[in-house]
Structure formats: structure tokens, C-alpha cells
Symmetry: C2
Subunit: 207 residues, 2 copies
């Protein structure tokens, strides 16, 4: 059954079980999906920061971007588990003959790239949501400041968690150009997102 | 329906809706519950860091503590939403007569304390889980290092999120001694937990 269709209670039990999945990759995607959802919530509140048209227009623009990000982060929760299951399956392939060994090696490489691409998507989406968090912090209702603060903390954690999964998986990928491109993008987005998160947090405590 | 009984998909939709609950408080408890679950997972893996009896004994001890923490963090997800609903209900009480005004004021104060005590519990439990994270990082299987890293990031985010909710609610509590005690404990636990998280992270990258 898809993780998205399981009850929260069952999901927490699944995270605590020693089965290979779900693990940290899906947990990171979940954290960012909750963060993006909380930001979407603040954009949808009837009240805005100052009650101006400017506030409403800015929040509507953020809401449109966050809707897409939220949907993709939600999908990444199951996608990460599927990708990791593929890695585990590839390592279990037969390796008796040279042909089997070559096929197994190719399957492992393909699976590792998929298991890197999913958390790379989570890094990109989390960074995108943190960019929108600045707008939500500047124009959203003050009474929801702690919700925006929690959202920023969850998106930071989701991004870092996805980054840890990228680092783990990309270390076994043999395509050097791919490894270099993924690593460079991850570092760049982490830095940009860290700045955006800090700016959003600074806006929240201006009263 | 309890949040724990809802599907993950419905829960994410609920977090994104403009209804007052569920909000950042339940999201913070959820983040820490997932973090504690991932730590429990690593304690239950068949492999340990060096395959020693010492590893196994340390992980068994951490597992016992984490089981209780995980259960209480899981309960806090719904408890925070119930407490916040109580605050909203108290503010909606009639305030026509002096007697009604006094009753409303008392109900608001009682509800605000409950809405502070729940995230204070999340701060305590998250700090307790981060203390155990040091043991899990030192004795758990190296292949699960990224899971421990994600767990630490989620517990940091859950603790910070709970702290933001405490600060929001305690600001309207009139009992100065309670406010001072809660604030002091929150600051102390945040500092201790930050140190524990840093120590756990440092252990993870020792290869």
C-alpha cells in the first residue's frame, strides 16, 4: 500500500520498523511536504499582515507556486521508498556469470541514480518553498507567525535530510560528471535555501 | 477523526487548509515523532556499528527509552490540536455579563496553559530523543548513518517548532511564575538538545 494511503499511526510504526523502507529519504520528503502545506495554509487565511491588496496579491502568487511544490513533495514520499526498494532489488540480482555480473552492475547504477534523483528533487522543491516562505512571512497574518516558523524549520530539515540521502547514494555512482553536477547543485541550493530561510525567519519577528 | 487515524494524504491536505487546526504545533510533534521512529528503526537493525556485544547492549538501552518517547510524541500530535481547539473555544465564550467575562477569562487562561504544556512536552521528549541519538550514532550500523542524520534534523525542527508554539501561547498567560518556569526550562532544554544533536552528528561522520 502507498505510504500516502496509510494512516499516520501505521506510517509512524513503519518508520520505526527495521525493514529497509520507509527510511530517512521518505521522512525528509514528508517533513518538507508538511512544511509546504503549512505555508499554503497561511496563504489561504482570510486575514493578511496589514489587510492590503498588496498582501493579498503576494500571497495569491505564493499560493500558486506552493500548490505545485506541495503536490510534488507529497509524491516524493512514495517515490523515495520505491527508488530505495529498486536499489535493494538490484543488489540482490544474480552474479554467477560475467553476463549476470554486468547486468547486475548496470541495474545497481540505474537504481542509484533514481535514488539520487528523488532526494535531489526534494532539495529543489524545499529550496523553492523556502523562497516562497519569505513572501508568506512578509505578507501573511501575524497570528500565524509560529506556523510559518515551524514550516521553515521543517523545510530546512527536509532539505538537509534529502541532502544526506543524496550524499549516501551518489557516493556509489560511477558516472563522474553526474556526481559532480548533482553535488554542485545540492551545495548551491543548500546555500541559497539557507539564506532564504534566514530572511523569512528575520521577517517573522518584526512586529 | 483523530489525526493519527487519517491517511497521510488527508493529513497533508488538512495542514494546508485555512482551518485553525491542525497547525504548526501538531506539525512539530509529527516531525519529532518521525525522528524518534527513525532512531528506533536503527536500534532494531540486525547489524550494529562493529558487531560487538557493547553495541547491542547500548542500542537495546536506547530502544527502551525511545519506545516510550515515540509513543508520547505520537500522542502529542492529536493533543496539540485538541489544546488549540480548546483555546479557540474559550475565546468564543459569551462576554455579556461580568460573570461571563470572568468565566471566559478563566477558561482562556486554562486553555492557554494546556496549549503551552503540550509543546513543552514535545520539547522535553525531543530533547530526550536527541540524547539517545548520541548512543544510536555511536553504536548503530554505519549504513544507516543518513537515517540517524535525518532523525536528528527532524528532532531539531520539532523541538524548535514546539518552542515557537510555547512562546506564542505563554505570552498571553497571566501567571508570571508559570511563564518564567516554562521559559527557563525551554531555553535550558533547547541548549542541551542542541549540544546533543551536534555530538550525534559529529559521531555520524566518523568513518
Amino acid at each position: 500500500m502507498a505510504l500516502l494511503d496509510r494512516s499516520l499511526r501505521d506510517l509512524l510504526t513503519a518508520f520505526s520498523s527495521p525493514d529497509p523502507t520507509p527510511g530517512g529519504g521518505s521522512a525528509a520528503a514528508l517533513a518538507s511536504a508538511v512544511g509546504a502545506s503549512l505555508l499554503a495554509m497561511v496563504t489561504a487565511l482570510p486575514k493578511t499582515r496589514d489587510g492590503t491588496e498588496e498582501n493579498r496579491a503576494a500571497l495569491a502568487s505564493a499560493a500558486a507556486v506552493l500548490a505545485g511544490i506541495r503536490e510534488q513533495l507529497t509524491a516524493a514520499i512514495d517515490a523515495d521508498t520505491a527508488a530505495y526498494d529498486q536499489v535493494v532489488g538490484a543488489y540482490k540480482r544474480p552474479k554467477g556469470s560475467p553476463a549476470e555480473q554486468a547486468e547486475r552492475k548496470a541495474a545497481i547504477q540505474e537504481a542509484l541514480r533514481a535514488a539520487t534523483d528523488v532526494p535531489l528533487g526534494v532539495v529543489r522543491l524545499s529550496a523553492g518553498a523556502l523562497e516562497q516562505a519569505k513572501t508568506v512571512a512578509a505578507h501573511g497574518h501575524r497570528a500565524a507567525a509560529s506556523d510559518v516558523g515551524v514550516a521553515v524549520a521543517l523545510l530546512r530539515a527536509g532539505l538537509l535530510g534529502a541532502r544526506l540521502n543524496i550524499e549516501t547514494n551518489v557516493g556509489s555512482v560511477s558516472d563522474a560528471a553526474y556526481v559532480e553536477a548533482v553535488t554542485a547543485e545540492t551545495v548551491r541550493l543548500s546555500e541559497e535555501a539557507g539564506r532564504a530561510a534566514g530572511e523569512a525567519e528575520a521577517l517573522l519577528w518584526v512586529r
